[in-house]
Symmetry: C3
Subunit: 343 residues, 3 copies
Amino acid sequence: MAASAGLVGLAAALHFAGAGSLPSFAACALALGAVAHLIGEATDHLGNYLGPAATGIVQSAVGNLPELFVAIFALQAGLVVVVQASLIGSILSNALLVLGISFVVGGARHGVLTFERQASRMIATLLLLAVCALVLPTLAHELHLPAGEHEQSLSVVCAIVLLVVFLVQTRVMLVHGQRTVPSEARGRLRAWPPALAVGVLTLCGVVAALVSDWFVDALGPAIETMGLSQAFAGLVVVAIAGNAVENVVGIRLAAQGKADLAVSVVLNSALQVAVVLIPVLILISFALGGAPFTLAVPPILAVALFASVLVVTVVTVDGRADIVDGVALIGLYVIIASIFWWG
Amino acid sequence: MAASAGLVGLAAALHFAGAGSLPSFAACALALGAVAHLIGEATDHLGNYLGPAATGIVQSAVGNLPELFVAIFALQAGLVVVVQASLIGSILSNALLVLGISFVVGGARHGVLTFERQASRMIATLLLLAVCALVLPTLAHELHLPAGEHEQSLSVVCAIVLLVVFLVQTRVMLVHGQRTVPSEARGRLRAWPPALAVGVLTLCGVVAALVSDWFVDALGPAIETMGLSQAFAGLVVVAIAGNAVENVVGIRLAAQGKADLAVSVVLNSALQVAVVLIPVLILISFALGGAPFTLAVPPILAVALFASVLVVTVVTVDGRADIVDGVALIGLYVIIASIFWWG
Amino acid sequence: MAASAGLVGLAAALHFAGAGSLPSFAACALALGAVAHLIGEATDHLGNYLGPAATGIVQSAVGNLPELFVAIFALQAGLVVVVQASLIGSILSNALLVLGISFVVGGARHGVLTFERQASRMIATLLLLAVCALVLPTLAHELHLPAGEHEQSLSVVCAIVLLVVFLVQTRVMLVHGQRTVPSEARGRLRAWPPALAVGVLTLCGVVAALVSDWFVDALGPAIETMGLSQAFAGLVVVAIAGNAVENVVGIRLAAQGKADLAVSVVLNSALQVAVVLIPVLILISFALGGAPFTLAVPPILAVALFASVLVVTVVTVDGRADIVDGVALIGLYVIIASIFWWG
């Protein structure tokens, strides 16, 4: 916790000292990761008092707070392309890059990894649904269909559908005693008193909002300094920075041979972006008015996401994966990222 | 049978009395459902004399008669968009809406439903083939390829391919003693004498032709009265009305926990539209001349169908489904329908 | 070997006698098939001295030599469309036509065929990756994205990714003691001495280069004489001629009920074109300069390939296939070929 506080302090110092955009951007990214880690820890401790059901709900609700704040502030700053790219990049970096590295690391140490097929098949189904909710409105927009003129209403319908499906899935998982992210996925020594856990969570929420604001402030200039396209910055830089914690956790679990947990953490992280974060952002942008955030994205992003989900589905469908699967997933990520390099 | 006769009588009365288009449309839809139900019952009774092999063939041949008549009359009335939309909608409403409701109802009562994987994998393969036979000519048309100028010849080739594949599949199923739609799927008390069964079938054929004519007469004005787009009317209203019987049978079977039969009835119903009804209509329209009925459909319909078949494949591939799968399928149907709402 | 020498002699005679393009084309195609067969035999004999690991590598390296030479000479002759079509056609004819015929022949004799699921799932994953490496650059090109202007650099990145994935897969297979193409797939009586095997291989390389040159010389006029479009000629004629040996071997294995070997030979043949031959050609064309050979192909080819790989994945995913699957695969091939008939 001290390290987290230090990173947040560093980010604050660089922000208010008007430091260069790159160091400020890097410090904010690290601080956001630290806050996300702390939120995970606090909800885990809270789990000792709430039972797995409520814990899962709290975790889903606050676990994506940093990414949500970043997206909201970036939308307000008019960085719509960056937000769309970073959300889809968040799914891609989890489902391709991090899962791929997990399979390579785990496969190198433990040979063929086996994991529960039912859970990953379910996630594949919901990811495919989310992809359809993105591809079809995008196509309606590109083909100038009548529905394309009601882009925002269509996006709201899709958002509600995705949230309903997510709620049903959460309920089914809770009834069956599973948590969305298994608690063993995170190390833990001793339970915090409930007041401490709630206090840390509240504090994290406030800090996440602050640091997200600084992060977005530094984002535009940092992109320019690095000479990146907006799409590449969102798809790769923001996406990887925003998921640093899940990434490290997933890869470490795979290295320990806990393929079940690794696949669950990494794919659930991708799933929550697709069926919670994106729909919530659509509803918020609809409620707040202003520049609408819709599901009509650049077609190449929609196709890249569709192809990725398909490959992940085929890789995970038999509950077995090895180093070759890992390299294939990483390879697809490299191909997609290189398309946006010139983007 | 008395109820069926009553519904047909009502449809006739409303038609000849020149009643408003909406009541006439509704009465015809109900009457068509009743005729379809009666055809199923008569072929089932006939099954006691013919053996499962011939029964399966008769059932395939006459089971889709009402939908076939509606499509032919609607094509003659120039409602090409409605026909294309209603055929694809027939596949979508079966494979997404009805299968989804079946999984939700069955899953709520019986938890995780299990069903035979081989049969649904086979249906998924043939549905994918049918989708390819739709997507590729559509793309050739949209891209203005040379093949796009030979749209009708190309459609005839595709239609023959689909029918050959269907005949081979039927033969394999018959040899293995399976009927396309299991007979237990329909309730039955006592066998009719063969003359009665044949008589009912013949009568049903004539009545189906008459009612289909009245249905198409009422269709155009009814669409206008309801203020619907042609695509939405075909995709949702006509598609659901035209499959009312299979829909109710499928959902009831799932509620009874007979997941195997439910999946078989619902998916075979979708499959027969794809690999029998559509090819037969193409060949009929080619033989009759006039406005050609081809496989070059609006691209958004082709993509929606492709995405749906893919999701159904992933959902059914492991022979297990629960309430979450059901909600996901329904959700995809809602998304697709809402795109055509403004269509 | 005498028969092979005879065919090569015939091709030479027709070429230098300035015979008509059709006989010359046919003789060259047969001679190339004979050379490919001889290369397979020689590497198999070499396998007795090298161990399976090195044998697999040699076989991968020289087995595609004839196709590689044909492609290089055809590119130099400016037949880019033919080369692109013949490479994709090579994948399609293997994965659809030959696999389909194998399933029909094997299924007719032995009922439901079963084969190892893990290997075919792995091949499906890598084929899907290769398809993505084709679809995404094609889309970038068609949508006039910035990346579309760096078509050749993008293709080089994709080629390197595919080659790396192939090398990792080869290494994993070698470590597990499997050869890419099982040696039992080819008949063999007595081991040749190593010097003979190496001598035959060297000779085959030289002869392959010569015959490929004559083949390409005859190709253009032969296409014109037959009145075919360039795309159809590449996709169907060149593709089937270039894979005659694997085709016959695969179908014979299926007829003998060795479904495991048949699927492995046929799908690995398709895979090697996708992840070795195409990437190597891209790198060669980049190194040599001149007209670039890139991954931006006609969109209809990309979609046809994508649909085919998807259908093959669904067909093979459960390690079971019967005559219906075979007919479905052949049907898809017929549909695709007929689109290019007018192409």
